[in-house]
């Protein structure tokens, strides 16, 4: 396992390196360079122009520039953003990456959980109207024009009903007299989320593995208890209304992204279940006289989970793209919106920096999915 992890990490580092190189040469294949922005000014004397080019280092041979670029990237130095001058790219990304991570992770976990739960039920009732309707529904969700779907959600829940804010990350009026910055509050929220999910996961793992009597009661009790403790801490901190403001702005984008990824997850589960249902051990389980629910959940669904996880790896890029579109429609200031606004304003350092980070994010997610796969399938041993 450790050897496999090291090998996989090395592979991913190599991939990252190739990826960085492709980005560099793509940018350098363009005619002209960054010094032209300044040196095209007719008022500049020739010696100043030469000095500017020296300063930017664009007169160096390409391989030297490449080495400098690799060194800078590895030390996290992406330069200064043009459109948000004088903030550095690393600073902008440091502010926006957590927002994207939260949006993406919450939606992905929710959609796969729901998609798997519903997909196995649908596969079990093959041929009925339930299957027909839900297949059409998830195909529609899978292929729907994402910006339009997001717009309809905004229109329905924010514009017409007025239950939720229309877009953006927070409501400036509420934050005018806020004692802390939005990012500080948001980081606290992330920590809360992590603590909460780890605690609940631990309780669930403990009760199901040890087969404790009254497992349901303990699980429900622990959820209520942790929620109460977290709520108490937040109310005591005095910025609870600010955190609630961010949560309100999060509900709609997370919900939309969940629904979009949900369709794909459900179709995958259904197909995988249909293939697993033909295995001999399923017939054997039925012949033993096990109840249908147990055959479905214990014998088919567990084995059907593997291809779903594999396909999840393949659909990761799709999910990241979906996140980018959602961010732009909801004006959610995350990596996707940064990427798009950098591209439209030709802010190259920021665009390249954001792109590199999206790439790193996908690579790390791949690694995580690989590890999960090994954990799920005991037949795989490295």
């Amino acid at each position: 396992m450790a050897r496999y992890l090291i090998k996989r990490t090395l592979q991913i580092l190599l991939t990252l390196f190739i990826f960085l190189s492709i980005v560099f040469f793509l940018v350098n294949a363009q005619p002209g360079d960054i010094s032209h922005v300044y040196s095209l000014n007719p008022d500049l004397p020739p010696e100043t122009r030469a000095k500017l080019q020296d300063l930017f280092g664009v007169n160096e041979p390409l391989w030297k520039q490449y080495l400098v670029y690799v060194k800078n990237t590895l030390t996290g130095n992406f330069g200064v953003s043009f459109s948000l001058y004088p903030r550095t790219v690393a600073d902008v990304i440091g502010e926006r990456l957590p927002r994207t991570l939260v949006l993406f992770l919450t939606a992905t976990v929710l959609s796969f959980y729901l998609g798997f739960a519903l997909g196995k039920i649908v596969a079990w009732r093959r041929g009925g109207w339930v299957e027909y309707g839900s297949t059409i529904g998830s195909v529609t969700l899978y292929t729907v024009f994402t910006p339009w779907f997001a717009l309809m959600m905004i229109w329905l829940f924010a514009f017409r009903a007025g239950w939720l804010p229309i877009g953006k990350f927070l409501d400036p009026v509420e934050w005018r007299e806020a004692p802390t910055s939005a990012n500080a509050v948001f980081n606290q929220m992330i920590i809360t989320m992590i603590v909460l999910s780890v605690a609940i996961f631990a309780v669930f793992l403990f009760t199901t593995r040890k087969r404790v009597a009254g497992a349901r009661l303990i699980q429900a009790g622990s959820i209520v208890l942790t929620a109460a403790v977290v709520a108490g801490v937040w109310i005591a901190s005095g910025v609870a209304h600010l955190a609630w403001d961010i949560v309100e702005h999060m509900i709609l984008p997370v919900g939309t992204l969940t629904l979009i990824s949900f369709g794909g997850a459900m179709l995958l589960t259904r197909n995988s279940m249909l293939e697993t249902m033909r295995e001999d051990y399923v017939t054997a389980a039925r012949a033993k006289g096990l109840p249908e629910k147990q055959v479905r959940d214990r014998h088919v669904a567990r084995n059907a989970l593997l291809p779903v996880v594999t396909s999840f790896v393949f659909s990761l890029a799709f999910a990241v793209d979906g996140g980018i579109i959602i961010e732009s429609v909801f004006s959610w200031p995350g990596m996707g919106q940064t990427l798009i606004s950098a591209a439209t304003t030709e802010d190259l350092p920021l665009a390249v920096g954001a792109f590199v980070f999206v790439g790193i994010f996908v690579l790390v997610a791949h690694l995580a999915a690989d590890v999960l796969y090994v954990y799920l399938d005991p037949r795989i041993r490295y």
């Binding site: 024009f145 990241v320 980018i324 591209a343």
Partner: protein, 316 residues
């Protein structure tokens, strides 16, 4: 399929035999395809949009005045305020710049089809070649191609296209090329390789090699034709991806195209009618629904072809 190239001694020529075989397998596949209802629904939607695309030049040349109905530079002089609601002369109303929405919709349908077809052709020709070559040679060639595929699969396509559109002007052809390269060297190539692996071990490949066939001959005459059903299936999924990417990019205003469904929504957005869904439905629904419908129709056709090609999914 392992018909050797010996001179035809049988009464029927080789091509007639091949044509008869092809016709028979087509008939079988068609009856199986017809059994899956979703495939027929998808095919009907595709046909509807094909008709729309074909009708546009005819209407422009006969009924529609070019000054009023041109999808890009036309102006509806017969309306007093723009965007005008649907009427007899403009069945889907006009957009904020006074252009006929139906005409834009029909004009864009043609370019969507061309984009989809082009992207699918590029994808499948790259993917089939990559798959066949990797499976035939194995070893280092296989490793290099598959590691490359790993990178391609990990790249989020829309983000790549967004960055590229900041660097170079992306038009339909470039878009089709980029999608084709990403998907052909990536996912499609991997799937076709796994299929090619099962072809490579067949006895007729061995026979072709024993008869002195070179790698190029064996790959393109004996392996690639056997990959075609599966690559045809993947063409469908590529079309969905291509139309979707085009729509998203032009919706974000990053694409250099004259008119497309995504651009129609972009126009609506920049004119500020985006959230007036109830009052100005014709500015949003025709284009968005067209994108959704055409994407899902190709997807549905692909899914039912999957049931035809992949025996494991058939209903017993």
């Amino acid at each position: 399929m392992a018909v050797s190239d010996s001179p035809p001694t049988a009464p029927r020529s080789l091509w007639a035999v091949r044509a008869a075989l092809a016709a028979r397998s087509f008939k079988q596949s068609w009856s199986m395809f017809r059994g899956t209802r979703i495939g027929i629904i998808g095919l009907a939607i595709i046909l509807f949009y094909l008709l729309l695309a074909a009708a546009h030049p005819i209407l422009m040349n006969t009924v529609w005045d070019e000054k009023i109905y041109d999808p890009v530079v036309g102006y509806a002089f017969d309306e007093t305020r723009q965007p005008a609601p649907p009427s007899w002369s403009h069945p889907l109303g006009t957009d904020p710049l006074g252009r006929d929405v139906l005409s834009q919709l029909m004009y864009s349908a043609r370019s969507e089809f061309m984009l989809g077809l082009l992207a699918a052709l590029i994808t499948v020709s790259i993917g089939t070649t990559v798959g066949a070559v990797a499976a035939y040679f194995g070893g280092v060639v296989d490793t290099v191609l598959m590691r490359l595929a790993d990178i391609m699969i990990m790249l989020p396509g829309i983000s790549v296209l967004i960055v590229l559109s900041a660097l170079i002007g992306v038009e339909h052809f470039e878009l089709a090329l980029i999608i084709g390269i990403l998907s052909g060297f990536g996912g499609t190539g991997v799937v076709l390789k796994s299929q090619a692996l099962s072809v490579v071990v067949k006895p007729y490949i061995e026979a072709a090699r024993a008869a002195g066939g070179g790698p190029v001959h064996i790959i393109f005459v004996h392996i690639v034709p056997n990959l075609l059903p599966l690559s045809f299936l993947y063409m469908m999924f590529t079309v969905t991806g291509a139309i979707f990417s085009e729509a998203v990019l032009s919706f974000l205003g990053l694409l250099n195209v004259r008119m497309s469904w995504g651009l129609m929504i972009h126009t609506t957005e920049s004119a500020g009618y985006l959230l007036q869904v109830g009052e100005y439905w014709w500015l949003i629904f025709p284009a968005s629904l067209s994108i959704t419908l055409l994407c899902s129709s190709f997807y549905l056709v692909g899914r039912s072809l999957d049931e035809v090609v992949n025996p494991r999914l058939r209903r017993s």
